[in-house]
Symmetry: C2
Subunit: 641 residues, 2 copies
């Protein structure tokens, strides 16, 4: 059995109150927070430890030694404000807030659970000052806060942490220019300079060059120090107090995964094949146990050295070792996509694959390694990636542009529009489409992407249901589509393999009947929602109601003849979107029905999101939004009666 | 009468062939292009002369003395590529392309006319290599082209012109970093450093600081010279040929409006009150005549000095002097908005107005001058503006964020989403909403903004019909709305004053009947489309058909009871969107009807855009899209029969 343990706030209080060397105290507190962070990530099954650990000494220093929050609380207008712009280091941040007594234990231990703490910062969590998780916005937002403090004569400083890879985002440089010009000087930026991105070195992805000079030439007061050296941090923040005519930045040299030896990233990137392993995801059981042991021993050794008693922690969960995870056995459409890319790459020399530092997540590594000369890494610069794709397409190449849908469709929206007006062909792949996985929260769940592409008059939007359809869909986009395409891909393992008929063939505008039925008909798409649709059919079957389930991968084009055949026998038509109810397949169905006289009087009922996507486990979140099979079955029964 | 004259391509040929001093020749050619540019802008009634003239000497130099296009043509894979990232200097660029024989006279003289040349660059015009007009994308796109040239072993250089204000856009800095890292060295950026933005000095809007050092520290080879000195330009481009290990940038010091004395911007900004007048818009008759005369005299004097015969130009249009323009007499909703802002500013100390260098166009100048301490200028950095608004709102202030809808809703989409997830209240004002004016073309016409806000679950979207409703709508957003709002505002003068009933009161979710009718009902909104709707009603009235016209300013919320009352008597309901058919009021109507049993079987017909918005005069473009009153009347009759 694996034991997951928590260090309670009481223990932190005791250390904080102890009369010991202040730097040793901070070291102990930081490692205690590390222990709690890894415990919550292990419990959640996901989370970002690498950069939680690289930034944790700075965050510990700020809360326990620098900010006035301990005295004023987190609602006082004169409080110092701190937040993380990158946001994925929030497990470490929560650990500090819990240690400060700001997040109750019950909430803290439920990282990425519904009702617990969000996978990325959310202001509903006490002590969290801003929502983040999509990169590059933090300095701008901090500037707004600092501007407001000035306008309302409020005291306190505003401090914001950025990643280093995050500095590839253009908004960072906008905000560096405007902050200086607007004389918003009550602002401190801390760069967590751990030199690694998702898995490769920053120098390899997009090198930032001479960062100190860049900030300086942009008009900022720059300091640099070891981000794990509390005395150095203290000195920098003391110096900052004297600088009132400029905004300030601290480049904190840190080590990704700092605190657990085998998680620590190298200072120099060892070789081309080296991949940093601990950016995201929970550690396996053995790594968790040995990492936790290492932290505990370090903490205890320090406690002992200053004459304090050893750490006591409480077991919050025990679980079986080596639980089989869905992701190890299930089909993943993204893997099929990656295979198809390599295959098509061998046939089409004009195929160029583009990435914004999510190569592994987006299934691109195979292509990246097979055709490095046709793989373009742009780093975390989605706008640049998309316009570069535009230039490639104008010169006759076929770019396949990848990122998470929530970033690509949104951050680069105007660039996508601009490309579309040139009527070249580009394939956009919106990964991590839809509600699930819901652990990372609404900065990552892509439930607006169809609507963000929707008003482009020359882009086909589609989402495949399984590996076979994924390969067929990509091939269709590459070889057959006359115009640009946007393909949505679910990132998580498929909860079940969606079975297509033996004679399956992808046909433009037409879907596939997955389950026949006479009582009601439900359109859905993608492995996540088709699974829930089929579950609903199974549930209804037990009530002697038969639900016809149709996989419709074409989200903005429905073949009218086929559509009429499919729904002719039904008075009510249900549509399930893995997306906001606005602008998805449901609206496409409504509009298609308006074109056919006989269909107009039917009743159409849309299932989808009508609020921000909740954070939690898949079952929690599907149930919360009433989009799980059981809820769908009830909603269908209710609607029919 | 005013005479508008054109210098034909033949005249350019003669000068190009003349055996005279090469720099004098370029000066003459550039001024001849200036003369043609001002003629086409005068004829079009709009266009950007200030930056056409500041960049024209560089563009003239490139086409007539530097690029290989004259030999290879504009389709050869080995050609040098040039395009303008800012794009609003396209009247000058067209003049050069016309002078090169690439654009036929008939097309060239029809600037901003349907079938003529687009208001911003469009690749359908011969010689135009990329679409632009929304800022900041050009270096990325040029990089894609240069990457493709390398990948396909094609010869030729890639050169892109940026504005200086454009360097406030974050994407510029993304692309500066990635270009160097990706070693795309076959790329030359030319900054048209004219030091003025829409009407104020760049130093005043958002200062760029030491531009040379910025580019240098970003890893670029930097040269700087007088952008009106052909010998200096020649030297720089010769030097660039020797630099093969870095991308290159030329900071060209230029004068906005160069070539016509009274249009020339000062080198230093004279005083706070100084506003540069010639950024956009056609010159009045007197300015046009005296400016044209000055150019002609200069050209002739130079021609004479090198022994060539004086210029002969052809009259392409004569028109009456001082034609009364609609904009001088008509109601403008944006003016009402500006007045309401000032009024509400006096009542609400928490109201902060934000601008991205469009203060005059967005009606903000009154507020800017009345409450400078609550006006935040962010320059051309929409993402920074929106996230800064987020920070202000988190600290309890109420930001009113302004830009053109096509930029704001799209460029800052992810930032708007991020703010929305914090559930603070922010008012976004999407100016220049809809299809009209259509002269600037699709980079400026905002016909996707409703869809880009649509999937936000907590934002009310509305568009007022006239000055009264505009003031009421803003007041509602400021004082009554519980959540964020997006208000669309048409920028052009209202083609007619939309009359509201005497007892008019803005009521959430409910619109106003503007014309009663029994035969059909049409929902529309905003002054542009309501005018067409009323025209359609008038046309139908002559055919003894009565059309009920309803102004529905609430675009994503319709009061069901009111709605049912309004349409109960009609079998067919028409909806007219000043937007893509996707995601606008039409879809909202469809969805509302689905909620009410009795309404479901009615027929709903949407009018709106189903392609990219065309460029041209309002009547041309409305007719092209079949959205003018007459077309609407016919479409309604057809649908009813």
């Amino acid at each position: 059995m694996i034991e997951i343990r928590l260090i309670s706030e009481t223990k932190f209080k005791r250390v904080r109150a102890a009369n010991i060397d202040k730097y040793t105290k901070l070291q102990i507190l930081a490692d205690m927070c590390r222990a709690n962070a890894i415990a919550t990530v292990k419990r959640a099954g996901s989370g970002h430890l690498g950069s939680s650990f690289s930034s944790l000494d700075v965050v510990t220093y700020l809360y326990f030694a620098e900010m006035n929050i301990a005295e004023l609380g987190v609602s006082h207008p004169d409080r110092d404000i701190y937040f993380s712009s990158k946001g994925h280091d929030v497990p470490g941040h929560y650990a500090v807030l819990h240690a400060m007594g700001l997040i109750p234990e019950e909430k803290f231990v439920n990282l990425r659970r519904h009702g617990g703490t969000h996978g990325h910062p959310d202001t509903t969590v006490n002590g969290i000052e801003a929502n983040s998780g999509s990169l590059g916005m933090g300095i701008s937002k901090a500037k707004g806060m600092a501007w407001a403090k000035h306008a309302t004569d409020a005291g306190g400083r505003v401090m914001v942490m950025t990643g280093d890879g995050e500095l590839q985002e253009g908004q960072i440089w906008e905000s560096l220019q405007t902050t200086v010009h607007q004389k918003v000087n009550n602002l401190i930026v801390i760069v967590d300079y751990n030199k690694f991105q998702s898995d490769k070195a920053l120098k390899h992805i997009i090198d930032l060059g001479d960062l100190e000079s860049k900030f300086t030439i942009f008009g900022w007061h720059v300091e640099r120090c070891d981000g794990h050296d509390f005395a150095a941090l203290e000195q920098v923040f003391a110096e900052f107090k004297g600088i009132t005519d400029k905004p300030k930045v601290l480049i904190a040299d840190t080590i990704k995964g700092k605190g657990i030896s085998f998680m620590e990233g190298p200072v120099e990137w060892p070789n081309e094949d080296y991949l940093y392993k601990w950016h995201a995801g929970a550690p396996d059981d053995d790594s968790f146990e040995s990492g936790y042991r290492e932290l505990t021993e370090k903490i205890n050794s320090r406690l002992q050295s200053v004459g304090l008693e050893a750490l006591a922690s409480e077991i919050i969960e025990t679980r079986e070792r080596n639980r089989v995870k869905l992701k190890d056995t299930a089909e993943k459409v993204v893997s099929a996509y990656g295979e198809a890319l390599v295959e098509l790459g061998s046939q089409r020399e004009d195929l160029i694959v583009m990435d914004a530092d999510l190569s592994a997540d987006c299934g691109l590594r195979g292509f990246e390694n097979a055709y490095p000369q046709r793989f373009i890494e742009t780093g975390i610069a989605e706008q640049d990636m998309v316009s570069t794709a535009g230039g490639l397409a104008l010169q006759g190449l076929l770019p396949v542009v990848n990122s998470f849908g929530v970033f690509l469709a949104s951050r680069a929206n105007e660039q996508i529009y601009n490309n579309a007006t040139e009527k070249t062909k580009i394939i956009y792949v919106c990964h991590y489409a839809g509600l699930i996985p819901a652990g990372p929260g609404k900065s990552h769940q892509s439930v607006r992407d169809i609507s963000l592409f929707g008003a482009l008059p020359n882009c086909t939007v589609l989402e495949p249901a399984n590996a076979i359809e994924t390969k067929a869909a990509l091939k269709w986009c590459v070889d057959e589509a006359a115009q640009s395409c946007m393909m949505r891909l679910v990132i998580s393992p498929s909860p079940r393999r969606i079975e297509l008929p033996e004679d399956y063939k992808l046909t433009f505008g037409r879907g596939t009947v997955l389950a026949d039925g006479q009582d009601a008909v439900l359109f859905a798409y993608g492995p996540v929602m088709l699974n829930e649709a089929l579950k609903a059919a199974e549930t209804l079957g037990q009530q002697n109601l038969s639900l016809k389930v149709i996989n419709q991968p074409w989200l903005n084009h429905i073949d009218e003849t086929w559509f009429e055949q499919q729904i002719a026998d039904f008075g009510t038509v249900f549509v399930l979107d893995n997306h906001s109810q606005y602008g998805g397949l449901g609206d496409q169905v409504l509009n298609t029905a308006q074109k056919v006289d006989r269909l107009r009087s039917k009743r159409f009922i849309k299932f989808g999101l009508d609020e921000f996507p909740a954070c939690g486990t898949p079952p929690e979140v599907l149930a919360y939004h009433q989009l799980d099979g059981d809820s769908l079955a009830s909603r269908i029964v209710n609607a029919m009666s």
